[in-house]
Symmetry: C2
Subunit: 549 residues, 2 copies
């Protein structure tokens, strides 16, 4: 009658004091509530991903010290804790990604990860040596197969890997599967994850306990969703998504309990809702973990800044989100009205700073060189950059973090001003295509008009020259976004895009823009990742290349 | 009497047309000059590193097509060409990093790379499956051991790897070693590379032919330096550094020829000279490969912008480098004079735009909120950002690329204004510590005073407030730089730094600044890499972490 507690926690990378305290608190809690074993997520001691801090011997030393501090609390309750483990064999990378089994105040067993993900945002081969042999852990008369995240992602059909840790553990008579993970959120990933885990439970006919990290680490959101699965492959119990949680399960009960089977199509149904939740957590943790409370952003009256402000207000409190209206000579009256109405609807403070005097000053000083040359992107960008100077001045004076309001569609094609509207400490919508920004706006407005309807219904415009529309420079977003999705998320070739019925001339122009604008994206803020392929650390493109250009 | 040609070329990533033409031209050249075999560098077909383009099936298809175009030229001369090769086994990553041996217009043999580097700027496990078996290639009665770059970097003492391809090839009776590489430059790497290669030749008692890529790929500089080594482990012949080269060697002659042994200490001696050369190539190729000719930069009268301008003038031609002097209320007279003298000395055009009117306009509009608050970093940054707006306006109007002038010391501690002086398409000095910037300045002035001596001798200042000096905020650079070097390049812990005799309070403050400013560096331009650990793609640090903070 083993009782297993799952502790789904939000760790702060490198903050050993806080992480250790959280782990100890939850060991105590598990003990008080009569658990035999409490399980924490992958690399919980230091937080995932720790990046190149793992290359600092001192950092690993601090992980070891934290484990020592935790050990005394594992007396009548055992614990599984994730931490790096030094590879002392003298062969291979200097660390293993490990699960430490702590029992009777001792390290009873150390399990190493075998399948190291090294794609998209993952680069575990950079730090870790993969394990090549796997051993079950005996605990209270039961054989436990402890695996680490990706270790369960091979049902002998994953072309990425040649090994299969779980197969080996099953052959040793495993009776319970435990998987500790740091599995990042993307809107289309939940069903895939549930399917992989339930298939493992069913294949081996064993109960499975899964603990995922929760919380955002700059751009990566970990969504939690830890769970218990019965040997038929049904999800019997679940922990929360997007927040810390703690639950205790009786193994016998899980084995006999009925549950649900993951269903295809669920991801698509909840897409906008979970993107909204992920963005909230992304903002909350970015601010919380760097110790800032207040955000600032420019309000144009358009939909991107409106959605960004609404989400920021929900994450940080409306009073902590300052909007700045900065109309230029080309701003329409409705833009200013819509922006002001937005701030009022949400209850956010706002300032108004007209920028015409400032841009006039810039242009006057540039007259010796610009005279007689036509108004073009240079003058357009002066407006966007003047706004950035105002926003950053306020940010510097009062300690607000500037939120970037660019969406994924414009970031993709470079429709934005570097050091202008592309500024910010964090990009909220940088992984959300424009067509989904519209859906988010409607979701935010589902109970009442928080975002002025006019901001949603009017044609998108940067308003940097008279009567400008996005569609002057770009295909309509319902044509653009599918091209981008197929190229960025699905890595389709031009030929495959034509076959989808997309216009060749438009496809070629769009792909050329995407590749050419790599230099702009290189300098943009971290983007909260909500898709399977976000700009940033998970997409590594050369700048000086000439492919499809 | 085999004759081997080494073709050390500068490839453009993804530019299949140009790369293929270069390869074909050099096959023809080898044939005309009577070579039996011509060898090209690692992944020469597509250029190295191709990044996530390798995830596009279409990109690999284009590599295959290029190989088909090359084949007909390999009639009386054979060729070794680097290209990705699809892994059709259904197990492991979808590609191999391969060397194609082309003979009699056919692909005679394909060798796969076994040791995949996955550290610093390398992430080959992201794309490639490592080979686990290796086979010599028979050519004109000789057994040739073809290896790819890192494959020779294990003399059974490299802890990173468990395998040793060359050992296996030697056991098959190899008679000649050929290594095709894409080995990046850093100022302290040449001797290490020469030592590794000569030790291989000596250990196996075989002649070794090494072909490296040359040319810069955004931030990474490949320095060439291809060579032939005799079986005693002496370098008998060398190709140029930092430029394309082509040479033919008679294998028998190389075997009997005397050569030199790599000497420790050489790297330190030539450090400043090779950094200068690498920066020249870095600028040249960045501009050349994106198709731009002209650069712009802000001139402060200080040493960083002076050194940047001198190097840019040497790379692009003085007439193509535009300096802009933008004195503020806090600029000293000598700053303007020094900047003007610099441009005149170098023969570069320069514009002068005083910024006081513009910053006054910003401050006037901010008065409702800033009134009665002390002048601080907000007002300082307005000056730096105003300058960036002017520079980018000129860049946008006339098509100049803005060069960033930040040095590595200030980038490390965040002593710079985001969206201000941290702007630019390319950072020239971002991997050069301030103390080395001084050395570079003296090197540039070795024949005559190109950089005004006053710019070198006066105390560094950002001049953003009255009588400001860098040393108001930072330790002196001869104290700061060793701390940074030990922490960044050598990954030493605070404890180890104290043991070097560095002041604890200073060390703690500096390391805290370095870690805290990750958010700034995230948004800075690509940095030309000249050290073993540059900011950018080779150093992956989380932003929201709290380590040593």
């Amino acid at each position: 009658m083993i009782k297993i507690a799952l502790a789904q926690l939000n760790y702060h990378i490198g903050n050993f004091e806080q992480n250790t305290r959280k782990i100890i608190d939850n060991i105590k809690r598990a003990k008080q509530q009569g658990a035999d074993l409490v399980v924490f997520s992958e690399l919980s001691i230091c937080g995932y991903p720790s990046g190149d801090f793992l290359e600092f011997s001192d950092y690993i030393h601090k992980c070891d010290k934290a484990l020592e501090q935790i050990l005394p609390y594992c007396d009548t309750v055992a614990a599984i804790v994730g931490a790096p483990h030094r590879n002392l064999s003298g062969k291979g990378k200097p660390l293993f990604n490990a699960a430490f089994f702590l029992e009777n105040q001792k390290v009873k067993h150390i399990c190493h990860k075998g399948l190291l993900p090294n794609y998209d945002i993952f680069d575990e081969y950079r730090y870790f040596e993969p394990a090549t042999s796997f051993h079950v852990t005996e605990f209270k008369g039961k054989r436990i197969a402890i695996s680490i995240c990706e270790d369960l992602w091979n049902l002998n059909d994953n072309p990425l890997y040649t090994g299969n840790p779980m197969e080996e553990l099953a052959q040793q008579g495993a009776e319970i599967i435990i998987n500790i993970a740091a599995s990042p959120f993307s809107w289309d990933h939940r069903t895939e994850r549930e399917t992989m885990l339930t298939q493992n439970a069913r294949k081996y006919g064993l109960p499975l306990f899964y603990v995922n990290q929760v919380g955002a680490q700059t751009e990566i959101v970990f969504d939690g969703g830890s769970m218990a699965i019965n040997p038929k492959g049904e999800i019997t119990e679940e922990l929360s998504y997007f927040e810390e949680d703690f639950k205790i399960f009786q193994v016998d009960k899980i084995i006999s309990q009925k549950g649900r089977i993951p269903e295809k199509g669920e991801d698509e149904k909840r897409k906008i809702e979970v993107i909204y939740q992920a963005l909230i957590l992304g903002i909350k943790d970015y601010f919380g973990k760097i110790g800032f409370k207040q955000a600032i952003l420019g309000l144009s009256g358009g939909i991107d800044s409106a959605v960004t402000m609404a989400i920021a207000a929900d994450a940080l409190g409306a009073e902590n989100v300052l909007g700045v209206l900065m109309p230029s000579a080309f701003s329409s009256d409705h833009s200013v009205e819509d922006a002001q109405k937005l701030a009022e609807n949400l209850g956010c403070p706002f300032y108004k700073i007209p920028i015409k005097n400032t841009t006039d000053t810039f242009e006057a000083h540039l007259k010796p060189w610009f005279e007689n040359l036509p108004f073009n992107v240079a003058e357009e960008n002066i407006q966007a950059r003047t706004r950035a100077v105002y926003l950053m001045a306020l940010s510097n004076k009062f300690g607000h973090v500037l939120l970037n309001t660019s969406n994924k569609s414009e970031a993709a094609v470079g429709y934005g001003t570097l050091y202008g509207d592309m500024c910010g400490g964090l990009s909220v919508l940088g992984d959300v295509y424009k067509t989904d920004v519209f859906r988010l706006a409607r979701y935010i407005n589902k109970d009442k008009e928080r975002i002025p309807v006019n901001s949603i219904t009017k044609p998108p415009s940067a308003e940097l020259r008279p009567d400008q529309k996005d569609s002057d420079s770009l295909p309509e977003y319902d044509i653009l976004d599918p091209i981008l999705f197929n190229y960025i998320e699905l890595r389709k070739s031009p030929g495959e895009l034509y076959q989808l019925g997309l216009d060749k001339e438009v496809v070629d122009r769009v792909l050329k823009m995407v590749n050419f604008c790599e230099y702009k994206r290189y300098q943009t803020p971290p983007v909260i990742r909500v898709s399977s392929k976000a700009f940033g650390m998970g997409r590594k493109m050369p700048i000086v290349a000439r492919y499809l250009g």
